[in-house]
């Protein structure tokens, strides 16, 4: 991981009126790294993600993606540059099948968004790619089911499939295991691990489930009340007293 | 020339005041409940007809006070039992519902009160002009503006200083947070709707004194109300107030120079606003979704 970083967030802050949700946070993620962002509730994690993915612009600071300043770019533009994202509350197309969900993502990724028709070769390639992505996320058996009717875990997987179809350089996962039982958590964790190891994807994820974090993460970033509290390997973070205090303090 | 201009500007202000009364009610309902009340004109007509029905018993002043309340109650019933069921859904459905109600009300008033227009008499003291220099300022028109002014002031005071009013304003900006704070959002919406309809009913009583009564008169006032809201800026009641006065006055001034264009000028202003400042004069960014 000594090449240029995929993501470099430089001292970003976000203010909503007088409320400071994120304050001077910096972070650097290298190629192929899996970074977990953790912190107590209200730490500003999702706001931080929103800044990275372009949901809204930062009040201060810069965001550099693949050596390119994307701070002023819209969410759509950042997606086009290779940022994929999933949401805390799964955002999918409920009344379309898994196949159709992934299809539109793949079509857009291939630049077919405005096309009235596809050639035979293009259609075939498209089909192959869609099946590939669906297989990667283990949903092949359910490809023709409506996503809105799937179990929660499968919906999450479908959302990840859509993000994958975009061929992202960076995958942002916002609480992928939220609302899941043990079995589903295990399956999603395995999926993420597979994507990380087999496809060498750079992943940043927000998580509350510590088992998942310690199982997957190369490095961990801890946020508390919008500020950067600590950064390091899982072992360093586990031993960090300030981190423990932040979590215990919130629980008390 | 100046008298003519003065006449028309004053006329414009009077018309504008009227648009304001209608538009404010529409705006209240739009802002909090995300509903375009197509039936707003219908409630205006109901208000006028109820006042007409009551005036033999309560007199002009009595029905002026009572009719809007009764109209608001009818509105409340419709909101509680029908519109409320549609809040979670696509805004299309509440739109269609009020659209359907507009038909029902227009035909219903025709059925109940007959297809002929009804003449409305106002108390003698109001019918006279205030002075012979300003012959165009009949007492009634001044009275109308006065009533509108009082209503607007009362509305703004209620919104600013009562608990319900503050909640309504907060709900317009962020309904989720208001709900999370434990406020009964459904009751709030009902109250808000009732206030909006009250204003429509009041408009109807006032209008009837000036224009007489007729089943279709409400629809003609719906479009200027829309324009007032768009021009003033969605989400802002003060904007609606300004918007209504602006188009009223513009309309009045245009009558002097180009009478046929007096209605068109409203649309021209709207188009200009949408081109130059799409969120309206006092509208806020991000209020458009």
């Amino acid at each position: 991981m000594s090449e240029q970083p995929v993501l470099h967030v430089d001292n970003v802050s976000k203010r909503f009126g007088s409320l400071v949700a994120v304050r001077d946070v910096s972070l650097t993620v290298g190629k192929g790294e899996l970074r977990a962002v953790i912190g107590p509730n209200g730490a500003g994690k999702t706001t931080f993600f929103n800044l990275i993915s372009g949901f809204f612009p930062p009040s201060a600071g810069k965001i550099i993606f693949d050596d390119r300043d994307v701070t002023r770019l819209s969410a759509q533009q950042r997606v086009k540059l290779g940022m994929g994202r999933t949401f805390q509350i799964t955002e999918i197309f409920p009344e379309l099948s898994v196949f159709e969900n992934v299809r539109v993502a793949t079509e857009v990724a291939n630049g077919y968004g405005l096309r009235p028709w596809l050639s035979k070769t293009e259609s075939a390639d498209l089909r192959r790619r869609i099946d590939e992505v669906i297989a990667m996320t283990g949903l092949s058996a359910r490809a023709d089911r409506l996503v809105g009717e799937l179990a929660h875990g499968d919906q999450r997987a479908a959302e990840i499939a859509m993000a994958l179809a975009l061929r992202p350089h960076l995958l942002l996962l916002d609480e992928p295991t939220a609302g899941m039982g043990d079995q589903e958590t295990y399956e999603i964790t395995q999926l993420i691990r597979k994507l990380h190891k087999d496809s060498n994807l750079t992943i940043v994820l927000i998580e509350h489930d510590m088992r998942v974090v310690f199982h997957l993460a190369d490095r961990i970033t801890v946020l508390d009340q919008g500020k950067l509290l600590a950064q390091g390997t899982p072992q360093e973070i586990a031993a960090n007293e300030a981190v423990q205090a932040a979590y215990l303090g919130k629980a008390a | 020339m100046t008298t003519l201009l003065l006449f028309n500007i004053t006329n414009g202000l009077i018309i504008g005041a009227f648009y304001v009364l209608m538009a404010l009610g529409l705006s209240l309902i739009l802002n909090l409940s995300n509903v375009i009340n197509f039936a707003h004109g219908g409630f205006l007509v109901i208000g006028g007809y109820i006042a007409w029905t009551l005036s033999p018993y309560l007199g002009f002043w009595g029905s002026l006070i009572v009719a809007p309340f009764l109209t608001a109650i009818i509105g409340l019933i419709i909101e509680r039992f029908m519109i409320r069921r549609l809040y979670g859904r696509d805004p299309l459905y509440s739109l269609l519902l009020t659209f359907g109600f507009a038909f029902i009300i227009e035909d219903g008033t025709r059925y109940i009160w007959g297809a002929q227009g009804k003449p409305v008499s106002v108390p003698a003291i109001l019918a006279q002009p205030l002075s012979y220099d300003f012959f165009f300022l009949t007492g009634y028109r001044v009275f109308m503006v006065a009533v509108v002014a009082i209503a607007v002031v009362v509305l703004f005071v209620l919104l600013r200083y009562t608990r319900a009013g503050v909640r309504i304003r907060a709900g317009t900006l962020d309904l989720e947070t208001v709900a999370a704070l434990g406020v009964n959002v459904r009751a709030l919406r009902s109250l808000n709707f009732a206030v909006g309809i009250y204003l429509a009913g009041l408009s109807g009583v006032l209008a009837s004194g000036q224009l007489g009564l007729e089943s279709t008169m409400g629809t003609g006032l719906l479009m200027p109300s829309f324009i007032a809201i768009i021009v003033g800026g969605v989400g802002s009641l003060t904007g609606t107030l300004l918007g209504g006065l602006l188009i009223g006055v513009a309309s009045g001034i245009t009558t002097v120079f180009l009478p046929q264009a007096s209605e068109a000028v409203m649309y021209v202003i709207m188009a200009l606003v949408l081109l130059i400042r799409p969120r309206g004069l006092l509208g806020e960014e991000g209020m458009m979704t």
Partner: protein
């Protein structure tokens, strides 16, 4: 199975002039309903498939009608030219104004579309020297179609005109279906399903909505042009938002999420309106009540009851 139903539908449409009289109908009624169905389907292209609520869409319909009528009256005695002029007038106006409106959503978009629609209504009303004002535009008629040595007298032959309209209907509807099945069409459906997710797939939302809007305006204007030919007449009511409301109701009644829903809705709505207005003078109340009932109890429309929600 679905193919059989659609095929059956086309057969019914093709044979309409023959079976309609048995049900108390007549060919010209069928022609009119077909045109209105096309309008309802054009609105639904935007409403049911892109998820955009345009409540002022009659404006483009009316513009198409006036464009066609004016062309036949002042330009040339040519039906195809009339259709072209009407379609261009409504379509181009829609494209230009659409650019102004496209950044809004939901009810605010609906409000602006209504207001702009009323501008055209007002113009048609006031500019009576050109448009005939409230009395409407008259003095033109659909011209027979000459194709080499073949002559289709659509002016005097009701049946010939019906088939002419049916062919036009088939062409436009095929284009619509084609677009909805294309990658571009998929992005529209995505926008309808979940705009935020569509944005985060990299779809330029406003641009796609504008294109969909423009396309639906062209379809609508074409329908309006045909409508002018139905009665050789165009009037301001064709521009009024209440007509827009009618089209939306047709789409909702038949089933917004289904391609053929609006056709069914148009047939039903017209038949009901015809029947009710012949039975009572208070037909407006009944239409209003019908709308209320549909909205409260059958929001998915008839076809929504019959089958599972599916994409096009």
């Amino acid at each position: 199975m679905r193919l059989a139903v659609v095929a059956g539908m086309w057969i019914l449409l093709a044979l309409a002039p023959f079976w309609m009289p048995f049900l108390g109908g007549y060919t010209a009624l069928g022609t009119r309903v077909l045109v209105l169905a096309l309008a309802a389907m054009s609105v639904n292209f935007l409403l049911g498939f892109t998820g955009v609520l345009s409540f002022g869409h009659a404006a483009w319909f009316g513009l198409g009608a006036y464009g066609c009528g004016l062309s036949l009256k002042f330009l040339a005695f040519s039906t195809p030219l009339g259709l072209l002029m009407g379609t261009l007038l409504g379509g181009v106006a829609g494209a230009l104004l659409g650019a102004l409106m496209v950044h809004r959503r939901g009810v605010y978009f609906a409000m602006v579309t209504i207001a702009f629609g009323q501008v055209f209504y007002y113009i048609a009303f006031q500019w009576s020297s050109l448009t005939g004002g409230d009395d409407g535009l008259r003095g033109f008629a659909r011209q027979p179609i000459e194709l080499g040595f073949l002559r289709f007298d659509i002016l005097h032959d009701d049946r010939a005109f019906y088939y002419f309209v049916l062919i036009c209907f088939a062409i436009i509807v095929s284009i619509m279906g084609f677009i909805l099945r294309s990658p571009f069409g998929h992005t529209l459906i995505a926008i309808r399903e979940n705009e935020r997710r569509a944005r985060f797939l990299g779809i330029p939302i406003e641009r796609h909505i504008w294109i969909a809007f423009t396309l639906s305006c062209f379809f609508m204007a074409f329908a309006g042009s045909l409508y002018a030919l139905v009665n050789n007449f165009a009037d301001p009511r064709g521009l009024h938002y209440s007509l827009s409301g009618d089209f939306v109701i047709m789409a909702v009644m038949g089933g917004m999420r289904s391609f053929w829903g609006p056709l069914l809705g148009a047939v039903l709505f017209e038949v009901l309106q015809d029947y009710i207005s012949s039975v009572t003078v208070n037909w407006m109340s009944f239409i209003g009540m019908l709308v209320v009932v549909v909205v409260l109890f059958f929001p998915r429309g008839i076809l929504g009851l019959v089958r599972q929600p599916r994409a096009a």
